[in-house]
Symmetry: none
Subunit: 158 residues, 2 copies
DNA sequence: CGATTCTTTGAATTTTTTTGCAGAAAAGTT
DNA sequence: AACTTTTCTGCAAAAAAATTCAAAGAATCG
């Protein structure tokens, strides 16, 4: 069923590139682009895509992907966490869902091991390369909480 | 007005700790706890709190904070990017939050190194195994943008 | 205090979204 | 092909959520 796949893709595109405040608006655009569907189907599509309706500060509403919603959420969230003077650590950076720790070459796996040993509740696990550690937050914690916890336990430079 | 502040806090708590599928459910709990309000007010409160209604895989809906929505976003949606004829690369695939590059055995770490060297703004970092590279998008960029940037800089097969 | 302004709220809608159901279309089987 | 099963969709109704409007409650200011 090609029609549906195309439609789903189109919905993604439209949601990403335009401000959609309710399903009717989106429906109109889709109809205009030649898709044939009703609002009922659209509701089901949006549900399947896990698109959410978020309130805007200006009073309106906006349909967005969850990760966009999170990034729009009152942006108090800093992206870089000061690594202070932690041995081997170059930087700690948070994306929406993951924390990336950059280390000096060769340090990553040792540090990752330290992190794992610490059994931090916020951290589900780590994956280490040569100079990069990927830290996966445990469900319920956001990347900033993880970064805070991380910075606390990492060995300091003396 | 203290009443409102308390209520807002209570809503936060309830949303965090229980599964709320619609406003009536939440309203009932609030009434039970002694708050006096109607659905109209609740709608306004939820709007102000930027709480979103998200679809669950089991068919139901759930009111959650945006960051929780993002962390719940299922990664079933894999968009495949044609790797053209890039040396050693078997495939480049995007999930919602990560890009996975599959390579011929042994190529991964060299390629990951190339990627890191390129200092692509869209890319926060990479982690390489033997035949797989995990690419983490920097905040603000989506996986498709990363994949596009990647394909551009990767060495082509001659 | 009294007048004025701003905020909050409920009742009653209106608007928007979801869903039960049945039929149509596609995919899978024999 | 003929039959079965699964997926998809529209229609209409139900359910859920947002908003209009009027009024009650605070806050501000002279």
């Amino acid at each position: 069923m090609k029609e549906k796949k195309d439609r789903i893709q189109a919905i993604r595109d439209i949601i990403r590139t335009r401000d959609i405040g309710n399903q009717q608006e989106l429906l109109d655009i889709l109809l205009q682009r030649g898709f044939r569907l009703t609002q009922a189907t659209l509701s089901r599509d949006l549900k399947m895509l896990q698109i959410v309706k978020m309130s805007l500060s200006d009073g309106g509403y906006l349909y967005v992907m969850p990760d966009v919603a999170a990034s729009m959420q009152s942006n108090l969230t800093h992206h870089f966490v000061s690594p202070r003077n932690i041995k081997g650590v170059q930087s700690v950076e948070c994306s929406t869902v993951l924390v990336v720790v950059r280390t000096k070459p060769g340090y990553a796996s040792a540090l990752a091991s330290d992190i794992d040993q610490a059994m931090i509740p916020e951290i589900m696990g780590t994956i280490a390369g040569d100079d990069t550690i990927l830290v996966i937050p445990r469900g319920g914690y956001n990347t900033n909480q993880v970064a805070e916890a991380l910075v606390k336990i990492l060995p300091r430079q003396k």
